[in-house]
């Protein structure tokens, strides 16, 4: 009994000693740049850059295999800081924010069923596509709210709304939304189409007061040809949009704001 304890303890100690000595003797120096870049990154490990986390991105940056402005939570400041460390120019980094492209709150859209089950959008959407009469809009059970690391999303009369001041544009909410309602858009973009309903106009009109009916008025009005209607709803090309606001003025359902 005692010998057993002693032998296991000795083996453990010897193994631990060998490992700790080896980790010092055979230490591999980490790239200084990598450490500096890692310190400059926000450390949210959100994965918006497409790497496994801030460590992975810092490594790729130090090796020169990644672009500088990929960190959307960090935005311009972090990009400039990384650029200074790496001796490169940051280029044009645009702040991006999440946008819930649905205005189906405030009683605009009706419910088609009474749902009394697990309180997540994921679960609701599995029951005949959700309890909302609109098959495409925000369900309002807040999966995005739970996913948001910055507490930037709140429910406003039954639909999720992103606070653009708090949003870091990491895109985690867009990934969890079963309806794909949330898009990552340029923070500076002045106007958005707040609807992704692909039903025909007449049907959309029946179920939602603020749903895009694809009437093409905005397309015809836009002086820059920045708006297209595809799948029965409008979309704005943010590169072309100058923010004149004429589309919002003519929209009969106020789906553009």
């Amino acid at each position: 009994m005692i010998t057993g304890v002693v032998i296991v303890v000795i083996i453990g100690l010897v193994a631990g000693l060998i490992l700790s000595v080896a980790s010092i003797v055979f230490a591999v120096p980490v790239d200084e740049k990598q450490e500096a870049v890692r310190a400059a990154l926000p450390g949210a490990n959100c994965g918006a850059c497409g790497f496994s986390g801030c460590d992975g991105y810092a490594k790729a940056l130090a090796e020169g295999s990644a672009e500088i402005g990929l960190c959307s939570p960090g935005g311009e400041d972090v990009a400039n800081e990384c650029a200074a460390i790496l001796g490169k120019t940051a280029g044009n980094v645009e702040k991006k924010v999440a946008l819930v492209r649905c205005a189906g709150h405030s009683g605009n859209v009706s419910k088609k069923t009474d749902y009394d089950g697990v309180n997540t959008c994921q679960a609701v959407s599995m029951m005949y596509g959700g309890d909302s009469a609109c098959a495409f809009g925000c369900l309002g059970y807040g999966d995005c709210i739970a996913a948001c690391p910055e507490n930037a999303i709140s429910l406003c009369s039954g639909a999720a709304v992103v606070n653009p001041d708090l949003c870091v544009g990491c895109g985690l909410c867009a990934k969890v939304c079963p309806k794909g309602v949330i898009a990552i858009v340029p923070a500076k973009a002045p106007h958005h189409v707040m609807c992704v309903n692909r039903d025909k106009g007449a049907l959309t009109r029946k179920i939602c007061k603020s749903g895009c009916i694809g009437c093409m008025k905005c397309v015809k009005t836009c002086p820059e040809q920045a708006i297209t209607v595809e799948n029965n709803h409008a979309a704005i090309d943010y590169d072309k949009c100058t923010g004149c606001g004429q589309c919002a003025g003519v929209c009969p359902v106020k789906a553009i704001c």
């Binding site: 057993g4 032998i7 296991v8 083996i11 193994a15 490992l19 980790s23």
Partner: protein
């Protein structure tokens, strides 16, 4: 005498690869089998790491068992001591590789730490003694051959199954079976095919 130990070692090797294949006959190491068999190159990388670790693990655990545990009547500590030693060993090898063989370290990648607690590795070291390869020093050779065979068998199963999964990817699978269910079903079918090797090794040298 000369011929008999050659046939003995060859039969140990073949038995470990085919009849007692670690994955498909003994159901050890199923986790990497299902986890990293999606692509051929990762399957080969993982298998190479497993062969490597199985060999060094056997080389270290065999003397511990024979010279330390058995003389002190501590056979019941086998499992815990082996886990301890294998885990430390893999970490040590990882440190060494990172320093001196960066290309191999990168090739093995995440698979090296993953197999720290792989039951196939623990399994082969314990099976060496269950099979009675304890005589000094010949048992050591038998154990090493058994480990090599175990590793090669692991690689065989991984490579075969990577091919099967490649075909599954391009097949029209019913929705309810997509993903893990069809993978498990096909794994069991591959396993059944390995039953065909039962008795092969005994027959070869009978």
């Amino acid at each position: 005498m000369e011929v008999s130990w050659v046939t003995n070692l060859v039969s140990i090797l073949l038995a470990a690869i085919l009849t007692n294949n670690f994955i498909l006959s003994q159901f050890l190491g199923i986790c990497p089998f299902l986890g990293v068999s999606k692509k051929l190159d990762t399957a080969v990388g993982m298998s190479a790491a497993v062969i490597f670790v199985m060999l060094i693990a056997t080389a270290v655990t065999w003397p511990i068992q024979v010279f330390l545990l058995t003389p002190n009547d501590l056979d019941y500590l086998q499992t815990i001591v082996f886990i301890l030693v294998i885990a430390a060993l893999v970490q040590f090898v990882e440190i060494i590789l990172k320093k001196y063989m960066v290309s191999l370290y990168k090739a093995l990648g995440v698979y090296l730490p993953l197999i720290t607690t792989n039951c196939a590795v623990l399994g082969v070291t314990i099976l060496n003694f269950t099979n009675g390869y304890t005589s000094v020093p010949y048992g050591f050779v038998q154990s090493m051959v058994n480990s090599l065979g175990g590793g090669l068998g692991f690689m065989l199963a991984m490579v075969l199954f990577a091919g099967v999964r490649g075909r599954i990817e391009h097949s029209d699978i019913p929705k309810s079976l997509q993903g893990l269910p069809i993978t498990l079903v096909s794994a069991s079918l591959v396993s059944i095919s390995f039953l065909g090797f039962q008795g092969l090794v005994d027959g070869l040298f009978a």
